[in-house]
């Protein structure tokens, strides 16, 4: 890998993927901070992991099922009570496609 771990263009691309607007001053603050953190990760390169399986969860559970019973759920008005905008029992969002 190159010595520069993350470029400004890459930071901007990542921020877009993460759906976060960054101000110019945030970008200049974050870039060296992220750079030093990501650089630190190189410590892992010294470990040979070629025959090691990854761990994504620490206990052995998989496929946890429960019985398919109808239970009471949140009433619609309560479920919508924290929404920014609602209409006719729906969440309202800004246009997702151009008119």
């Amino acid at each position: 890998m190159s010595s520069q771990k993350i470029s400004m263009a890459e930071l901007e691309y990542i921020a877009k993927l993460a759906r976060i607007n960054l101000s110019e001053s945030e970008k200049t603050t974050f870039l060296p901070q992220l750079e030093s953190v990501i650089e630190y990760f190189d410590i892992l390169n010294k470990v040979d992991t070629s025959n090691i399986e990854p761990t994504f969860r620490v206990n052995d559970q998989s496929n946890v099922f429960h019985s398919d019973e109808i239970k009471e759920s949140l009433p619609v008005d309560l479920a919508l009570s924290t929404a920014t905008r609602t209409k006719d029992n729906y969440f309202v969002v800004t246009a997702t496609i151009k008119k």
């Binding site: 890998m1 993350i6 890459e10 930071l11 990542i14 921020a15 877009k16 993927l17 993460a18 759906r19 976060i20 607007n21 960054l22 101000s23 945030e26 603050t29 974050f30 901070q33 992220l34 030093s36 953190v37 990501i38 630190y40 990760f41 410590i43 892992l44 470990v47 992991t49 090691i52 399986e53 990854p54 761990t55 994504f56 969860r57 620490v58 206990n59 559970q61 946890v64 429960h66 949140l74 309560l78 479920a79 009570s81 924290t82 929404a83 920014t84 969440f91 969002v93 800004t94 246009a95 997702t96 151009k98």
Partner: protein
Amino acid sequence: MDFSTLTINQIRQGLLDKKFTSVEIVNFFLDRIKKIDPQIKAFITITDEFALNQANILDEKIKKGESIGKLAGSIMAVKDIYLTKDIQTTSSSQVLNGYIPQYSSTVYQRLIDEDAILIGKTNTDVFAFGASTESSGYFTTKNPWNLEMVPGGSSGGSAAAVATNLCHFALGTDTGGSIRQPSSLCSVSGLKPTYGRNSRYGITAMASSFDCPGVFGNNIEDIALVTEITAGKDIHDTTSVDNKVPSYSQNLNKVNLKGLKIGLPKEYFTGAIDPEVKEKVLAAAKEFEKQGATLVDISLPNTDLGIAVYYILIPSEISANMARYDGIRFGQAVTDATDIISYYMQTRGKFMEPEVKRRILIGTYALSSGYYDAYYTKAAKVRTIIKKEFTDALKNIDVILAPCSPTPAWKIGEKVNDPLKMYLADVYTVCINVAGVPGLALPCGLNSQNLPIGFQLIGNFFEEEKLLSLGHQFQQFTDFHTKKPQL
């Protein structure tokens, strides 16, 4: 009457014996909070009306001779990332300013069902991202032993509240040390249970394969009582396990210290460790030795990889978990965006605090195409190695003893501009989370500057009972846990 020094059982018994009422207890703590909290700022919300209402109902039950819960009348503070129905839950972020949850977290609800009284919601690093409470979107909590110092974090508000007797016990979460490290920095006891022992349901998610709800207390007896209520399978959290929950509080003297093998991992006593921390933690180990335990030098050679593994995996999980804060179903949002993508970007850009953004960005980077295998998969593989290191070590010894933090509390502001430095503060706690095993933090004295030092006992999966028994016995032959800050 000073209700703050009574244990949970003493409070309950006093109520049954009609020595005092729940309303008197609540008023005592509300007065105490009014006097002390402005200095330390442990609370984001004080739930005075809610607490008095609970107390009135409880007193009525006692008057009528009805049965009361196991935690009746004891005062609890709850980290503000636990959802509390009808009570604002902010996660110490402006994102959730004003958010009133429609349902409650399981762990909190189980305690309410046993008549514990909620006195308030405590400050934390924003969404529990931090080691000092300084990343809170509201304010920094002060260390009650020295108001210029951090209380540790992320559950710093809960630790400070217990340290100053503003409650009998407090809920926290430990994803990378957020119960054990502030316990150590504030001189209280705190349990990070095995991953899956306590339900995560209704707690704003940080890193789902790491998050562990747990409790802070003044003594192990109280922690054992609370944990036997919170622990156990929850249908709403598929990662919670249904292993039998032992009667922790009944088995506090169960483990025989004679012949017990305690491992001291050399990697936790070398390098950046403060000499006074090392001295006090080793002195605590000697106390066990005096009771007949054997101290064994052990090695956990991959300890130095813990921070890198942790700070790749947890931001990755964070970047996925934080996607829910889209400003549509809950949380603050901008009003002037013209299309949905700018709505997301502006909302998240405006309301998310810097540490939230940093961690999402690191995680998004580690998960992004081209880097996924180099960072995320690599870290997940090293996680396997670290986990095995703990379970292998615990085959030959009964328990591991180590410091919780390389240093006592540090000055507010000292590490805020250097995220890597702040992340390295977790060096003695994160590996336990990477492995998923339980850890119990206990106070073991003060340094020459009158700042607390703590240590942790680390056991194998689901060995909370053993840890609590050892911790309780330690608190019988020492009195470090009774020391309180002068305010």
